[in-house]
Symmetry: C2
Subunit: 197 residues, 2 copies
Amino acid sequence: MSPSSLDELIDALRGLPGVGPKSAQRMAYHLLQRDQRGAERLARALGNALAVLCHCERCNTFTETEICQRCASPQRDASLLCVVEMPADLAVIEQTHAYNGLYYVLMGRLSPLDGIGPRELKLDKLLARVADNTVQEVILATNFTNEGEATAHIVAELLAARGVKVSRLSRGVPVGGELEHTDTGTIAQALVERRPL
Amino acid sequence: MSPSSLDELIDALRGLPGVGPKSAQRMAYHLLQRDQRGAERLARALGNALAVLCHCERCNTFTETEICQRCASPQRDASLLCVVEMPADLAVIEQTHAYNGLYYVLMGRLSPLDGIGPRELKLDKLLARVADNTVQEVILATNFTNEGEATAHIVAELLAARGVKVSRLSRGVPVGGELEHTDTGTIAQALVERRPL
Ligand SMILES: [Zn+2]
Ligand SMILES: [Zn+2]
């Protein structure tokens, strides 16, 4: 008995990650009842983002231009290329102010269960990017999850086969971390990867 | 450094209830990277719902027609009017198949902290609805939360002042419920509202 346009909106909201039937319903009621301007704004933002956003030809992140500002910047050290999973990871590394190289954003990670293999991740594009001979070292900064580690492993193999120098972010006890409150897997890794002083 | 159309989409998604900055970002990436058709569908569903949905003149629920199908149905007992907070509450009562009267949907509850008083709830519309003289009894089925109880209280007072018979859903131990696993407040209420056998 509920109007089809309402059902369609609830269905469309259910397509968002992490949104089940109850919250889709709550979102629809909220937008229609309390925040029609928010609903208009969301519809407009979706349409606009779909129309103007594309992937940077060099680093693959979202951009509104063929090549993003960062890749076009002469201030960046083009000999270093840091590979991350998502733009959010790139943002965290930028916040450290400890890196001035360039990036490549995979826009995902290998995830066989979700049907995301090397082809879906378009690793060809990364290999073509690295083939320009200005890149001297690729730093793998995928997450230290199972999927992120598997992704780093495959990317490292592909790059090594092409004679590219590859490194990985170090693992270990977090800065300021107390051993007592650090998981044993991390401590074991910090022992294996101990550094001479 | 991130494109403004992406920031605008993330901002618009943050306006959804229960969506924080992290999940808004995850939703935006998902829509743009993995589900562009879902994004188009959501934009279209929002525009369509905003364009065609209105509130039923009689019961106040969402409808695409002036008067919704349920209110227009001759099969319904027009002498009974059940007042609920939201369309989802109406749906639950319909699922019982224990009620064949009509409804009035408040589309909210009194919530002084959120600035929702009797005026924002448009209780005038409910009073006008009841004034048609076919309604013999109003059953208050707002939630048994603090806000729902306060709403029921105010609505009951307004209706009683107009000489309308008002009732409230009963409270007590849930059907199939074990006393041992029922909260003491509910048991206390079930004692106070005990029924003669
Ligand atoms: Zn770029
Ligand atoms: Zn109606």
